[in-house]
């Protein structure tokens, strides 16, 4: 009988304890992000003060400075490269995933292996020739050339991910459509697309994350006209010292689209990051 009385009291204590531990850990990990936001809301003298300014009246002045300055073109370039490459990944990846999942070709396993090996092949493999080709075709510092590179990076993940969603569609649905005399195009548009809308969302999210945050090709293949958001942030390395608030505001704005998309689509995020393996 006594156990019954003790149990409910014991239970919340451990819950409180573990909650405190958990929130401390989360605070440590989230702190750099929080600090970035706080610095962005300060004035420059407050942001560069020692001891650090903890209590202050927030101001959006630095966001205004960044947005009215030379930042918007970088942001727009990032948007063009991300959206265009995502679109191309879906256009090329959806039929390929369909071929590998619904009507498997011979050596499906090899084809899948081939696709994924290109994603994890070091960029060292193709970097130099791609650079020379872009230079000779006058495509350096061209945002569409950058979008094509991002398509290459994301296509293998896209094919794997879309295939994992297609595998979940019962084959009988396709049989039924074929018996009804539906054409291939009809089959794709009426059956496949609606059923794998979540898959398209997950693929788009992953493409957006990787191409929006991409830096290596951006820094080597663009200079001024096609430079993307991370390139804008690099500008702060050289002219540092008194621009912490501006730097934090720019970093906050540059990170915002992916952070928001990831937070909204958390379920798709896990599935996308594991190429469909974890549901």
């Amino acid at each position: 009988m006594s156990a019954k009385v003790v149990a409910p009291r014991h239970f919340p204590t451990s819950k409180v304890l573990w909650s405190v531990v958990g929130w401390l850990v989360v605070f440590v990990f989230f702190f750099p992000v929080l600090w970035m936001w706080l610095e962005a809301l300060k004035t420059e003298p407050q942001a560069a003060s020692s001891p650090p300014t903890i209590l202050f009246v927030p101001t959006l002045a630095e966001f205004q400075t960044v947005l009215s300055g030379d930042f918007p073109p970088f942001f727009i370039n990032s948007a063009i490269a991300s959206l265009m490459s995502t679109f191309l990944v879906l256009v090329l990846g959806l039929p390929a995933a369909y071929a590998l999942a619904i009507r498997p070709v011979k050596r499906t396993r090899d084809v899948l292996f081939f696709f994924i090996s290109t994603r994890f092949l070091p960029f060292a493999a193709s970097l130099v020739p791609l650079y020379l080709l872009a230079r000779d075709l006058q495509l350096l510092d061209n945002i569409f050339a950058l979008a094509l590179i991002y398509t290459t990076i994301n296509l293998p993940l896209g094919v794997w991910l879309l295939r994992s969603f297609l595998l979940e569609i019962p084959p009988e649905l396709f049989e039924a459509a074929r018996i009804d005399g539906a054409g291939f195009r009809h089959e794709i548009l009426r059956i496949v697309v609606p059923l794998i809308a979540p898959g398209i969302a997950a693929t788009s999210l992953i493409c957006l994350i990787f191409s929006w945050n991409e830096f290596f090709y951006a820094v080597n293949f663009t200079s001024s006209v096609a430079a993307t958001a991370p390139i804008f942030l690099v500008g702060f390395i050289s002219g540092r010292s008194l621009f912490y608030a501006k730097l934090a505001a720019a970093a906050t704005l540059a990170s915002l689209p992916v952070l928001m998309a990831g937070w909204i689509a958390q379920k798709q995020l896990i599935r996308g990051l594991t190429m469909g393996a974890v549901k």
Binding site: W23, P95, A124, F184, L233, A251, V258, Q266
Partner: protein, 310 residues
Amino acid sequence: MSSIAGSGGARVKTAASVARRDGWLRRLPLLPAFVYVVIVTQIPFALTIYYSFFSWNLLKPGSFKFAGLDNYANLVTDESIRTAVWNTVVLTVSVIGISVVLGLAVATLLNSEVFGKGLMRTLMIAPFLIMPIAGALIWKDTLLNPLFGLLPYFLKPFGLSRVDWVNQFPMVTVVTVEVWRWTPFMMLIILAGLQSQNPEVLEAARVDGANSFQAFRRITLPLVRPFLELGALLGSLFVVQTFDSIYMLTFGGPGQDTTNVPFLLYLVAFQGFSIGQASAIGVVAVVLTTIVATIGLRTLFSIFQVEPRR
């Protein structure tokens, strides 16, 4: 086909052509993606191998000449590639090791009875979503900066106020920032594993007298093991290519202390413009990665169900 061949010429012909047509119909949707990937990855790689046998500096017009195995000989004699390979191994192993352990710990916390699980998870994944360049910039300039940074200020009572982390402990700094970024990734995958566990099994174990540590070791851990492997494998394929945070935090320095293979390639190709030498590094990097990845991808294939259904 040959066994049917005797039964009637015309019919066999139709069957074969239908089969062939069907085969092409099946392959057709695959072709655009396949051709695109071959053009953008395989042909350039062939050219990389070709260039690696030439001495060519982009800044010296007319310097393009056959060099045989000179570029590879340079890699053997020059210490920089060995240092870079070693740094890559150190960085990858420590980042993956630490973030898997931390990720498991955080995932276990978030899977237990705590207040505000959803919000905790949401905040926890932020470091992974933040643009790596932005994250590294915040760490370097506002957290670790010896004059205005937050960490030196809080470490003042311990006599560590003037420690210049980025310059005095460059590898520790890079590993810290990368662990901060990859722990949420591991946590997400492992948490998904923990949540797939049937709570009744754990309950049964407890009824049978197992304490929580025993239950964790004997029941939970074997269950999440594939998830740990998956996270470690995918994570290391990404961490091997770390470039952004090194560029932002240390630029490979001081000296060569944090130069990994991707960064060395960047230095040789885009700071030195030695196309031939950079190509040789590229070929070596591909060979090394292929060896590691072949082992890794085998594991990957056993984790994913890749066998096609018929």
